[in-house]
Amino acid sequence: TKEKGDFDQVELARMMVGREIGDFYPPKRAQRSGEPLLEVKGASVAGFVQDAGLVVRPGEIVGLAGLIGSGRSELAEAIVGARKLSNGTVTLEGKKVNINSVKDALRLGIAYVSEDRKGTGLHVDLDVVANTTLANLRAYCHPLVSAKLQAKRTEEWKRDLDIRAGDLRADVTFLSGGNQQKVAVAKWLDTKPRVLILDEPTRGVDVGAKREIYNLIQRLADEGMACIVISSELPEIVGVCERVIVMREGRVMGELTGDEISEENIMLRAAGVAA
């Protein structure tokens, strides 16, 4: 498939060049209404986040924008139990939930794809199969781990997400950034989450893979998943999200929807100039 790859790249290059954002990013989606799936209120994380709140509805793509160090990752980590929430409540489908560990979050269907792939997102010394099936390993045990089932499901994810890995038994360290990211996403999709939080999903990812990831996010949302996208790249936030929450120094500075979503409006809030 070398030719196909080449063709894709040419097309992509032209797209980037022409800044045809409408083509590069998936078509803008309409804003959703309906009951919130996940609601966070008055969330604080000692030293990082103060009194932050957010809401996501099924099928919605919410952007979490802000400068580096504004506490977005910390908020997300606290939501999924990887960090201690010193204050605040998390409500899922209107019911207050207690999340004290990532396992709790997993059980409730909230998944977090970390920004630090090598450090917390993946086991780079383990193979693709092991990584893809790790979070949902329980599903492969009845009661013993079925390597066959693991391989089969991983193969499916590979096809579904177009993960370019020659050997699924090779360590993920040998994959490119984009494909590593896809493995990380597959790991969490495999847990069948209802809420998916993606932290810097295109950091260190190539243009081609970036676009695939944007398409994937949209597809997941279309299937009803509630998505939160944390990103420091403004065009990405603007291009992908239909609602944007802007943070600054651990606090939520404002929320933008529809036409309000622009790099300008985000930047002004991230810098603390407008609210």
Binding site: Y112, G119, T120, H123, L126, L134, A135, L137, C141
Partner: protein, 330 residues
């Protein structure tokens, strides 16, 4: 080729040693009797080494196993004598002694595990403290000397086993596969099973490979670590039980000394990396056999046993150098 050596170098080394052994001592060394003897000898360290594979796989280490052997043995023999004193039948007393040994190992291991997982102290330090502490308790229990069993059949257990009528030793007697050897083989099989077919096995690998990432993957890393150290404790308890039976006593000051070094050496020779995240039980078993074979050969070749340490050092280094760069090693 390089990859082959990386993965199976330890087997090649074992084969080489066997060939040398055959050339030097004749085909007799391959007799069932000799082979079973070899395994019989290394069963105790073997069980400990299998457990060590687990903790090393989680990027940990356990320096306290030797002292734990003394502690478990001391508790076992004390329990045995107490039960026998209470007019329990021999087999009941022995059964309770076995439970006491395993239980003591489990508790001691769990203590290590808790200090490591929840106290967040480095495994090296925690188990260094265990090395001093467990031996100390054993010495106190034993009044600094040895604790002798008052149950003769306990001692017999140490030499009991399955008699293999087919094979005979040099004196023409049928070979016995000791219970301890059976326990070792059983331990290795169960360990392989845990490693390959259970979630716990996968979790240990994930924790050893990258603890933070394991945490972020909804794995309770603390539980996994406590379980790994508890497991090695149980295996140490098993080894201690059979060792005590074999001696029909426990020399609290000396028993188990250097087991930690032998076990770690076997694990490392077997191709498990001290960095964690990879491990293989069969490698450890081969490592244990290799180390025993060396000391066995040095005696049969009438080489001054003083050289043994140097040969052992060479084998450790060569094994690790051969396997360097393999997935399983650093």
């Amino acid at each position: 080729m390089k990859k082959f050596f990386q993965d199976y170098g330890v087997l090649v080394a074992l084969l080489l040693l066997v060939v040398i052994d055959v050339i030097a001592n004749g085909w007799g060394v391959l007799s069932a009797g000799n082979i079973i003897l070899l395994f019989n000898q290394n069963a105790y360290v073997g069980m400990v080494a299998v457990g060590m594979t687990f903790v090393i796989m989680t990027a940990g280490i356990d320096l306290s196993v030797g002292s734990m052997v003394a502690l478990c043995g001391a508790v076992a023999v004390l329990a045995l004598n107490k039960e026998a004193g209470n007019h329990a039948s021999d087999s009941t007393a022995i059964f309770i002694a076995c439970l006491a040994s395993l239980g003591t190992g489990a508790v001691a291991g769990a203590l290590n595990g808790v200090a490591i997982a929840y106290g967040k102290v480095a495994p090296f330090i925690v188990t260094l403290a265990g090395l001093a502490g467990f031996r100390s308790i054993a010495l106190v229990l034993g009044g600094s000397g040895e604790i002798r069993s008052q149950v003769t059949s306990f001692g017999d257990l140490g030499f009991g086993g399955i008699k293999v009528g087919l094979f005979h030793n040099a004196s023409g007697l049928p070979i016995t596969i000791y219970w301890s050897l059976i326990a070792f083989i059983g331990t290795a099989l169960i360990a392989s099973f845990i490693l390959n077919y259970t979630r716990f096995g996968r979790y240990m690998i994930a924790v050893g490979s990258n603890e933070r990432a394991a945490n972020y993957s909804a794995i309770n890393t603390q539980t996994v670590k406590v379980a790994a150290y508890t497991l090695i404790g149980v295996m140490v308890g098993l080894a201690a039980f059979f060792n005590a039976a074999r001696m029909n006593s426990v020399g609290t000051g000396s028993v188990g000394s250097f087991y930690e070094l032998d076990a770690i050496a076997a694990v490392v020779i077997g191709g498990t990396s001290l960095r964690g995240g990879k491990g293989r039980i069969w490698g450890t078993v081969v490592g244990v056999v290799l180390l025993t074979l060396i000391s066995n050969m040095m005696t049969t070749l009438n080489i001054d046993t003083n050289w043994q340490g140097l040969v052992r050092a060479a084998v450790i280094l060569i094994a690790v150098l051969l396997q360097r760069g393999s997935k399983a090693n650093e």
